[in-house]
């Protein structure tokens, strides 16, 4: 991302946005702080708490939020705040893994379709048509029905559901780049095909796709937490936000905090991701050769 950013003069292509940028900035700053905080928590949850996410304390079970337990305790006395801190890593990695696989797989498919000749293009794009006709959540559930439940399979399932979308995006960008002047020049200079793709087509086609992948990361986070919520992803007693939300579902009448806070953690993270993604989109708009 930094490589892309350094090439672009600040505010390039965003002519009407002087006003918008001034207005958009406070939200962006808040979003950046939230994302930074969530990242630090995911890397080192121990910095923020001395408690253990799995230690039970039956005496203090179902304690309401308060001084010693900020977000209360669950049905077996585990501290909800601590579990949210320790759950950040799993929740983020699920989403990150899924979107990385989706973009990686999509890039492979998209480049093959764009550069691999008419037959490859026809076959891959019709395949994408078929997969895009299937609702992503159902496609992910189908993959889980075939592979079985579990953390790794959740990541694979979400990636599979998103790959056709990114495959199409990469193909469209690669098609544009392929016809551009600098690629023609490189071909004219006799650059080898592999080098041409690696040095010119891929970096230029991937920039806009990576910007869109920011928003896609938010979607992947929601899907991952949904699959965990449905009991198909992370297994208890591991702390994971979607799983905690589903555990809290059984205690809504007596202890709303068990489910409400982990869900809020997902929502806040996804909102921050989307704010950042929107900004990136607006910032890099017009950079595409289209």
């Amino acid at each position: 991302m930094t490589a892309v950013g350094s090439v672009v003069p600040l505010g390039a292509g965003a002519v009407p946005s002087a006003r918008r940028r001034r207005r958009g900035r406070p939200a962006l700053v808040v979003a950046a702080v939230v994302l930074l905080l969530v990242t630090v928590v995911a890397i080192a949850p121990g910095l923020f708490t001395d408690a253990s996410p799995t230690d039970t304390d039956p005496v203090n079970a179902l304690a309401a939020p308060g001084g010693s337990h900020w977000f209360g305790t669950d049905q077996i006395g585990r501290d909800v705040f601590t579990r949210i801190l320790y759950g950040a890593r799993t929740s983020l990695l699920l989403g990150l893994g899924a979107i990385a696989l989706a973009v990686g797989g999509g890039t492979l498919l998209g480049l093959t379709a764009a550069l691999g000749g008419r037959v490859a293009d026809l076959v891959l794009m019709r395949l994408a048509d078929i997969l895009i006709a299937m609702p992503p959540v159902l496609l992910a559930l189908l993959v889980i029905a075939v592979l079985g439940a579990g953390t790794t399979n959740t990541v694979l399932a979400i990636a599979a559901a998103l790959i056709p979308v990114y495959g199409r995006l990469v193909r469209a960008e690669a098609m544009v780049v392929r016809r551009s002047g600098y690629v023609e020049a490189a071909v004219g200079l006799g650059l080898r095909r592999g080098l041409l793709v690696a040095r010119h087509v891929l970096p230029n086609a991937l920039g806009p796709v990576l910007v869109l992948a920011t928003v896609g990361f938010g979607t992947a986070l929601i899907y991952a937490s949904a699959l965990s919520f449905l009991g198909l992803g992370t297994r208890p007693p591991a702390p994971e936000w979607g799983l905690m939300l589903s555990e809290g579902r059984d205690f809504l009448q007596t202890a709303w905090w068990i489910g409400v806070f982990p869900g809020a953690a997902i929502a806040v993270t996804v909102i921050a991701v989307n704010v950042a993604g929107r900004y990136a989109q607006a910032h890099f708009a017009g950079r595409t050769t289209r």
Partner: protein, 327 residues
Amino acid sequence: MRSPLATRRALFSRRGIIQGAAERLLAGTAVMLGAATLAFAALQLVPGDTVAVLLGPTTTASPEIRQQIRTEFGFDQPVPVRYARYVGNLLHGDLGSSYQLQQPVSKLINDQIWPTVQLTVAAVAVAVVIAVVSAVVTAGRRPALRATATAWELVALSTPPHWLGIMLLTVFSFQLRIFPVAGAQSLSSLVLPAVTLALSVAGVLGQVLREGLEAALEQPFVVTARSRGLSQSAVRLRHAFRHAATPLLTLAGWLTGTLLGGTVVIETVFSRPGIGSLTMQAVTSRDLPVVLGVVLLSAFAVVLIFTVVDLLHLVIDPRLRTTEAAL
């Protein structure tokens, strides 16, 4: 998501409406045949012996019985024969038999489809109303108002539906006791699930609609309409809205897919019967024919709506109907 307006216009202007419609239908059929082929491939992919899956883990069936089952289900036939039979059965609406429930998949879906249809239709209505109101009221207005609308839409589309459902249940069912906690018996049990399913969709629709409205409000025909003495709101509703509604229609296919996927989560949150809970049962017990039946049916709905929308564009936007000769 589909072919952009420009290519579609070229298609229809060059070859006329009927040919264009035929091509769309053909493409839709091809996608459905592809989906059926993928479904068939997925059935072959299921790990282990299908007969063993059918009989369950605790069975002591003799080899003769296993062979009998194999013949009955046609597992002993070569792959092309089974494929032809599978596609043929699909054409007759036969989605195969559930491994676990010993019933035809089409019957299982048929028994469960009504609560899901109610939920989906209610959610579409709620989402469209929220999006239209939010967009029409705020498009091209003061920056503060626009910023507020943009912010709420961003929050709406970023909120995980399963969390929103839990929040609404906590507040309106457990604390205030306005709506029932579970089930699908009464109209009031439909309110919370429909709102939950609708909100993220409303966020996306609202954004698309407002962008469309703002683009339309800058068009010359808006100035013309204003100069004829039409009020600002009349211009918005009668002229600009019609333009802005076209991309909304394009999103209908995506909308259907999102809602059909969303029902799985929502029906679990609110303990509602329906296709979603049927799917969940089937995924948990790895009952592949049922999952495939639901996926194929959803794909059919999405393809059908994409095709209908493409044809509707001709009706809504007369420019798409012009032939090159007329130009």
